[in-house]
């Protein structure tokens, strides 16, 4: 598992230059709560027909920062972007709330997971 840190403002350019959709398979978008109201956002890829070759691009952000959408580069990212919005209460460009949570549900359930 190879991890590559990127700045949030350059994540679109970095992934756009890396992502060859016939070589790399987009696994998912992941969020991990950190201390001090911060989180790590991870874009996870695996290589087709390669043994255990996984690459994670990640950015550490404040919850208030706006995450750019990658759905024009990776169409399947749209669903995990919506999940991230619900679970962490962050803003992802063009992704609306409500995939899993209703208005009366517990909000941002994974933001407070750091125990």
């Amino acid at each position: 598992m190879k991890k590559i840190e990127v700045a949030l403002k350059s994540v679109r350019d970095e992934i756009k230059s890396f992502y060859d959709y016939k070589k790399w398979h987009f696994l998912t978008l992941n969020g991990v709560a950190l201390e001090d109201n911060r989180m790590q956002v991870q874009w996870i890829f695996s290589k087709y027909e390669a043994l255990d070759e996984v690459v994670i691009y990640y950015a550490e952000i404040d919850y208030t920062e706006r995450i750019p959408s990658l759905s024009d580069i990776i169409p399947s990212a749209i669903i995990s972007q919506r999940e991230l919005v619900d679970m962490f209460g962050v803003e992802v460009e063009g992704s609306e709330k409500g995939l899993y949570l209703d208005e009366d549900s517990m909000q941002t359930p994974l933001r407070s997971c750091l125990v």
């Binding site: 998912t28 043994l51 679970m87 949570l101």
Partner: protein, 362 residues
Amino acid sequence: MSKKTIHIPLGSQHISLLEPVRFKFECENEKIVGVDSDVGFVHRGIERACTTKFKFDAIGYVVARVCGLCAITHSLSYTVAIEKLLGGEISKKAKYLRILLLELDRIHSHMLCLSHTCENAGFEAMFMRIMGDRELVMEIQELLTGNRIQFDYISIGGVNRDLDVQTAKKIIENLALVKAKVFSYIDEFTNNWSLSLKFKGIGALTLEDAYRFNAIGPLARACGLPIDVRNEIEYLPFDEVGFKMQTHNDGDINARNMVRLNEILNSLEMCENILRGLPEGEIFTKLKGKPKGEALMRFEAPRGELMYYVKGDGSAMLNRVRIKTPTFACIPAFSHIFMGEEYADAPAILASFDPCLSCTAK
């Protein structure tokens, strides 16, 4: 004929659905021109529960409850991720037994999907036949684990039950019966017009779109995309027990059916090879310590790639458990496939995806 645009919902409760999901179709006359989906009806907050309610050594049993059909794949993916963090190697026998259960999960899950496909074709007799035959596999799972579904078989360091000679013999007998049944299904799915002609060219995904939408599982392999996690991980010796990737080129409902049928045959062969060549040794190795660091593990569930990411800080409670399920990952591909299809075919197309909403909403 003039075009009339109408909006037709499918679900959340619908006769063709096994679980709640809602698609809102925008149709021009009978043709689908727009799709919106709602997949979150059975969200249970399992990822949060894993980091707030349970210690790491209990979570393997919690995540087995994410889904009744691929419980083994869930508990296996989580457990192996934790084993990576703890270090140490488990016995070869335990690895073989893990593959055995993984493949049995695939067989009965694919049989459920195929029976449901028959039901959608109006072929009730075939639906009943496959569901009846599926009991042979459920019986094997009960013999091995003590449960028909949601088996707590995988544990950190190995498996919870050994396999005795009598049970192995009974399993081999049942597998032979299932194999004969599967050959008869292949005949039906190839030659019966309700199951072959009706589904040819319907709900097709091209290879190019499979790459573009990151399709996985039988959906991807049915259009020729060679993606199967069993081919991409070293942890379990799938090649030793006879794994062969099954693909097709047409990408339609019929192709998905044929891929699943061939995968059942390959899984049966793998199970037989495991039972005839099961290594000697312990089924459990004690692994000490608490998970520290991050690990990611993938396995091929019946519907495609299942991924677990775990992060621990050396305490008994984990910081993060991320579950990426196959149906969830395929929702954008599903929506794309519906476009341009006839609304009347939507239930059959949806059934051919073999969606698992319990996994998706977790």
